[in-house]
């Protein structure tokens, strides 16, 4: 029989340390729904999503009951809609967003991602129409999430798209000003976007993926923090070892749930995403793990070293726990969703500049950061460009999900509620990057050899 201490450790993870499965995301290809007639295409989309995902939520709930493991979200990701918009010239692409929303409501999933475009080297037919529709589409829907890939290591950075996204993000916030500017929180701007990410708002179903697939994202910062808290005098290599072991256990839960869902739905199992996704619940915070390691406040000197250790140890532990690891896999640092990050910003320990630097060693990027409502679009574009450059040069995924809080100034709070938490408005540099952004064009891809 299993050791009593092991059993109690597991129970404690669920009961006290907020261990849960953040999401079971079903990826569905919509390539066979491409149609010149948009209404017909929307019908096909709805029909295909319903065909595969009809029992997605119920299956998730059954697994929750069977294993007693909370699955917080059930989600769907689809082929980037710009591929479908490419053949519906002149039609109002917002109809696609409404079709996705309808399917999401009907299946009961929490979010549906893939109202997306990939424009890292340039715009093709459909891309521009889709991107320009974002403020309206995200205001007209609740569950639809969007992402735009504006750069990659191989292609460089499409600065025309960067400039456009600066404007789109501001307009999306303005269009949803009555709803905490939430439109902007449903847009992620990527460099080196991945095709199998189960996490929102950046999930989409890549063209290299099978027709339909199940991907799983775990949570678990609380468990890692509790493990680190038990070793107040340990050396950092000992801490790394403990984080590895803990990440292994967390990831095994993801693997178990993913396999069970895949079997029950008769859909192939894709990947487990090893990201530590924090929640606003006290204790379930990536910032608190860093502070537990010995930083007085997240954001101070030493934060990047601590985060690098954490991120690497999580991957090393997780890789062996799952048959297939993918997605973003690392430590997320979404400001508004992490109680420790919110506190660190409020007391001035954590600034946007430090967050940028942290993204060089963590999995994604500037996430759920709130800035003043009067921030010029060019400044937001410049933040995107900086972040994309970090991703492009370091051969990693970076992203920006930034929310201009319309009508609010530095120091005020923007409340989202639920898993999205609340974000303090962060100060930005007052110096303009307008001329740089207005130049447009492309930043060429970086040299990947001559590394000495």
């Amino acid at each position: 029989m299993i050791n009593t201490n092991d059993i109690l450790e597991t129970i404690k993870m669920f009961e006290e340390e907020h261990l849960d499965i953040r999401t079971v995301t079903m990826g569905i290809s919509l390539l066979d729904c491409i149609e010149p007639n948009i209404d017909r295409a929307c019908e096909k989309i709805y029909e295909k999503i319903m065909r595969y995902a009809e029992n997605h939520v119920k299956t998730g709930e059954d697994i929750e009951k069977r294993y007693g493991i909370p699955i917080i979200n059930k989600r769907i990701s689809v082929t980037p809609i710009s591929f479908l918009a490419a053949s519906t010239k002149g039609a109002d692409v917002i109809k696609f967003a409404l079709a996705l929303e309808r399917a999401a409501n009907e299946t009961g999933v929490n979010y549906i991602g893939g109202y997306s475009a990939l424009v890292h080297k340039g715009f093709s037919a459909g891309d521009r129409a889709l991107i320009e529709s974002l403020p309206r589409a995200l205001a007209a829907t609740n569950k639809v999430c969007s992402s735009v890939n504006i750069g990659s290591t191989a292609a460089g950075i499409n600065m025309n798209a960067v400039a456009l996204m600066g404007e789109i993000i501001v307009n999306a916030a303005k269009a949803t000003v009555d709803n905490s500017c939430f439109g902007a929180a449903k847009i992620v701007v990527f460099c080196n976007a991945v095709e199998d990410n189960p996490f929102m708002a950046g999930a989409f179903h890549g063209t290299g993926e099978p027709d339909v697939v199940i991907n799983v994202g775990v949570s678990g910062p609380g468990v890692v923090r509790a493990a680190v808290a038990k070793m107040p005098t340990a050396t950092l290599d000992e801490i790394a070892e403990t984080i590895k072991r803990t990440a292994f256990k967390i990831t095994r839960m993801g693997q178990l749930v993913g396999s069970a869902a895949s079997k029950a739905l008769d859909i192939p199992f894709g990947i487990v995403d090893l990201s530590l996704a924090p929640t606003p619940a006290v204790g379930d915070s990536v910032a608190y793990i860093l502070e537990e390691m010995g930083l007085e406040k997240c954001g101070t000197h030493g934060t990047i070293a601590a985060l690098a250790l954490l991120n690497d140890a999580v991957k090393k532990g997780g890789v062996m726990a799952s048959s297939s690891v993918g997605g973003l896999s690392g430590a997320f640092i979404p400001v508004s969703e992490d109680a420790g990050m919110i506190k660190a910003v409020e007391c001035g320990a954590l600034t946007l500049e430090k967050l940028e630097a942290m993204t060089a060693v963590c999995s994604v990027g500037i996430d759920m950061a709130v800035v003043a409502g009067d921030t010029p679009p060019e400044t937001i574009a410049a933040i995107i460009a900086d972040e994309a450059a970090i991703g492009m040069v370091n051969n990693k995924t970076t992203a920006v999900r930034i929310i201009p809080a319309i009508g609010k100034v530095t120091g005020e709070m923007l409340e989202f509620g639920g898993l999205f938490g609340s974000g303090p408005v962060m100060p930005l540099s007052k110096w303009s990057a307008q001329k740089f952004i207005k130049r447009g064009g492309r930043i060429p891809s970086p040299l990947q050899s001559l590394k000495n």
Binding site: M1, I2, N3, T4, D6, I7, L8, T10, I11, E15, K65, R66, Y67, G68, I69, K249, R252, M253, Q255, L256, M320
Partner: protein
Amino acid sequence: MRAVITVIGKDTIGILAQISTVCAQSSANVMDVTQTILQDLFAMTMLVDISKCNIPFEEFSAQLKKQGEGMNLKIHVMHEDIFNSMHRI
């Protein structure tokens, strides 16, 4: 399908009897039991076969939890696979 029942709380007379009764009423077969005292707390783990259980798993779990509340004990019922996948390679 097998489940692990854990019982944690202050040691009192009849814990094993009460829990076993709930198992028997639900046709859950007790396969193994271990008991220890952990930091002054009574801790019992039970491995039960619930493949012939006459009520759904959540109901079985809820009944045991309710039984525990009456005796000031914390009772958890979880699928054996969770522990096997987490603690065994």
